[in-house]
Amino acid sequence: MTHTAIHISRVTKVYRTPFRRQATVALRDLNLEIAPGEVYGLLGPNGSGKSTTLKIILGLISPTRGSVTIFGRDNSVVAARREIGFLPENAYFHKFLTGAETLRFHAKLCGLSKSKTTARINELLAAVGLTDAGDARLSTYSKGMLQRIGLAQALIHDPKLLVLDEPTAGVDPAGSRDIQELIASLKNRGTTVLLSSHLLTQVQEVCDRVGILHRGRLMREGQLQSLLGIENQTELILENASPDLLDGLEQQIASTSARLIVRRKPQASLEQLFLKVTESTEE
């Protein structure tokens, strides 16, 4: 029998602050199901309940009502966490450890054998592009490097499920692209990924499915294309089309019931420009 990777059933989370009458409802009746091997993006503005959802999945906080299972196992059991790797939002880790030491520490926490650990650390440092910085203390790391060591730390025990809280926040576009590529390669290996983000463009390229959270409710959920596609519109992008051809097309359209909304040159996004510029100078 195969289990869903994550199964969240009717989870409600109410935060009660002592000495204050009003309680904050962070999540209302959340249902979520993520299949093994899927990359799922949880979107929403700050304070929408993304982090709360992730923390509940990881057992860091307990839901007021409802239940969560990870690969069929109740998530409050410590053993359920053997399958999970987690990258917290803005993680700092111990600043006084080097990158390699940080990974070694987490390897011990996961019960990795000594013989396997060293090889695994080198492998992961290479995967996140920190081989040269492995012996530097984390206090000297940049935000992007911290995020990458955090990712390596989450992967140390080769988990079946990877949970990433704002993986690309504060990382420059190149770093962000690397992280997306890493996620894509993990997906190819069959790892399930759940990530949260408030920057919509960053997730659209890697996610199979996305859910949109707002004020603790799941407002929309589905495949990206079907969520974003406008049913009654079509986009044509042509290369080397002569002005005559375009004029002809326009005339043809005018003779039917269809309507041309816009005719323009597609623009590169600032991000694409950035990548193009930096890649050319690197070589």
């Binding site: 860091l60 906080i61 410590v78 917290p88 939002e89 880790f93 600043k95 987490h106 996961c110």
Partner: protein, 289 residues
């Protein structure tokens, strides 16, 4: 729940490095200053008195600094981990919260043991030097003393100097500060600020030394009226009896400490530590991170 020694050791080791890098060892420099200043002051008093008082003040200072270290170092462990989100990446791993708390505690105990060792060595060296100079002085006066008078003077100097009970008293100082560390973990498991933890621990420290009085009053039914009795019972239950661990009186007085008392005290310390660690774990399990 399968407990893993390796995991606990990893957490304890990292905690120890973390604490060692916090410059808490400056406390030791302060200790050395106290010791040196006081012993130069004391050189004005006679030998036997000087040795006893030096030993006394060193023990008092070790006691004070180690307690201070236990409270201050432990108070900021959990808040710091939560602030830096280290706690998320650790607890998202298959690490039971019990192991996390125990690892933190053992890290602090490691720090305390190292500090105690350093202070003790310093203190023993000073005592030994003073003892030697006292013996030297006696040898110089040898012509003026009858042989049996000489041997008794030498014996007095030895009892006043380094002996087995001094070591026992030092071990108990460590036990006491470990209890304080466990209690601090308990409070910091629900506290929202370091200041609160440290203030609360200052109270625990003071009340802990009076716990035996509350206990005896409660048990002997000296006090009428249930509000007072309830209060005393609560004090007597919640707080550890810290006064019991102060054996410096015996040591300085040269009264031998019975071995079974030391065993009992170590047993009591273990009882307190296990209780407070379990309580800290229970509180930490409830905590929303």
């Amino acid at each position: 729940m399968i407990t893993s020694l390796r995991r606990i050791r990893a957490i304890a080791g990292t905690t120890l490095i973390e604490l060692a890098r916090l410059r808490v060892f400056y406390v030791l420099v302060l200790f050395a200053l106290v010791l040196i200043v006081s012993s130069t002051f004391l050189a004005r008093i006679s030998f036997q008195q000087e040795l006893q008082v030096t030993k006394d003040i060193s023990l008092g200072a070790i006691n004070f600094f180690l307690s201070l270290l236990a409270i201050v170092a432990t108070a900021q462990l959990l808040p710091r981990d939560i602030e830096d989100r280290v706690v998320y990446s650790v607890l998202a791993k298959p690490v039971p919260r019990f192991e996390y708390i125990l690892g933190k505690f053992l890290g602090v105990v490691g720090l305390l043991a190292i500090s105690l060792a350093a202070m003790s060595v310093l203190c023993l060296v000073v005592l030994h030097l003073r003892e030697q100079s006292a013996l030297h002085e006696v040898n110089r006066q040898i012509e003026q003393l009858a042989p049996d008078q000489l041997s008794s003077t030498v014996r007095v100097i030895h009892t006043a100097g380094v002996n087995r009970d001094l070591i026992a008293a030092l071990v108990l100082v460590l036990a006491k500060s470990a209890i304080l560390a466990a209690t601090t973990l308990c409070i910091s498991a629900f506290a929202t600020s370091n200041i609160f933890t440290i203030t609360a621990m200052a109270m625990v420290y003071l009340i802990g030394h009076l716990e035996s009085i509350a206990r005896e009053y409660w048990l002997q039914e000296h006090v009428a009226g249930w509000p007072k009795r309830t209060f005393l019972a609560l004090v007597a239950f919640i707080f550890p009896d810290l006064q019991a661990f102060n054996l410096s009186d015996q040591v300085i007085g040269g009264v031998p400490i019975p071995a079974h008392l030391i065993e009992q005290l170590l047993g009591l310390a273990a009882f307190y530590i296990v209780s407070y660690i379990l309580l800290a774990t229970a509180i930490f399990y409830q905590r929303e991170l």
